[in-house]
């Protein structure tokens, strides 16, 4: 496995960029490596030692055009992406973490506005990682969705 890993140029390039991103405290450069992030328009930055994620409004993210509301799947995808970035950025993981399960509770409809999110690694085991993510729009105290995600590392 190690020999195989060291001969894979894509994986080596990935690891190099991730290490550089951690050193420069720049989670956005990890986000840039994932095409899905630019597909939905997710961005991130560090703010007082915590990472803030946000998703600007885009017509291609609308689920219900008559309200209009952001697609529930986009909110889920954004939270899953945020949790993945949080795991890669804040912990010493060299490979891409694998999602085992993902649970999402919708608390309020996502209006056609910027969505913000923050994540927290609740537990890091030898193989398993539990990350929670919360999304809000106007006020951090009024969340629109919360998610919980298990990763295999």
């Amino acid at each position: 496995m190690t020999a195989e890993n060291s001969s894979n140029p894509v994986l080596l390039d990935w690891q190099e960029r991730v290490v550089a991103a951690r050193l420069e405290r720049d989670p956005q450069s990890i986000m840039d490596l994932i095409p899905y992030a630019s597909f939905i328009g997710a961005e991130t930055k560090t703010e007082d030692n915590r990472v803030l994620y946000w998703l600007d409004k885009r017509p291609s993210n609308i689920g219900n055009p008559s309200l209009p509301a952001i697609h529930g799947g986009v909110i889920g995808g954004f939270l899953e992406l945020s949790a993945t970035i949080e795991a890669i950025y804040s912990l010493d993981i060299i490979d891409m973490p694998k999602v085992v399960d993902f649970s999402l509770d919708y608390l309020r409809p996502g209006r056609f506005k910027t969505i913000y999110a923050r994540c927290q690694v609740l537990r890091q085991g030898k193989n398993l990682l539990n990350v929670s993510a919360t999304a809000w729009q106007d006020d951090e105290q009024i969340p629109i969705a919360t998610a919980r995600c298990h990763f295999l590392i």
């Binding site: 894509v10 799947g73 399960d101």
Partner: protein, 176 residues
């Protein structure tokens, strides 16, 4: 099976809403089959939705979108009158990694409906339905369609705009 008028109306409407609007159009989802309480969708592979740059596998978020859409469509067809079905929660289990360069098929079914909640199950697979890549459970609320109808929303907005219409309408409400 007898001809179902509601479903005959739903099919083109939902197909249009899915394939030509917002996120469904961006992902390129196609609606394969729609029956009462049953939805089949297909997501084609594309480089833009890759989530793992090392292996080229699509991001889990697209599977969330796909299953949420499929379960939502299935829940909508159960209702007697057209209305919205907001998602309460969704739980997804990834059973095996998806393979790159292959489309993902999704099936969603309503397995129980109570007076307020619709319970759905969804399955995503690539080659073989017997070895699925993901399984999901999603619950939806039943929302009264009168509160979201165009007429009642327009009347509410009009009431706010026109100061002279405020009083009689309010009195009418108070009399009830």
């Amino acid at each position: 099976m007898a001809f179902d008028m509601t479903m005959a109306l739903y099919r083109p409407a939902l197909r249009y809403a899915l394939q030509h609007n917002g996120h469904g159009a961006a992902l390129g989802i196609t609606l394969d089959r729609l029956e009462r309480g049953e939805t089949y969708l297909t997501l084609p592979y594309s480089e833009a939705i890759v989530g793992n740059p090392i292996t080229g596998v699509v991001h889990g978020g697209t599977i969330v979108s796909l299953l949420d859409t499929a379960c939502g469509c299935a829940a909508m067809t159960i209702l007697k009158r057209p209305s919205v079905t907001p998602t309460m929660d969704l739980r997804l289990d990834y059973m095996r990694p998806a393979q790159p360069h292959k489309p993902i098929h999704v099936e969603a079914r309503v397995y129980r409906q109570s007076s307020n909640v619709i319970f759905c199950r969804g399955l995503a697979w690539q080659d073989d339905k017997e070895s699925p890549i993901a399984h999901c459970v999603a619950n939806f609320m039943k929302v009264d369609s009168t509160s979201i109808q165009f007429r009642s929303i327009a009347a509410k907005k009009l009431r706010r705009l026109l100061p002279w219409s405020q009083r009689p309408l309010n009195r009418e409400d108070a009399n009830r």
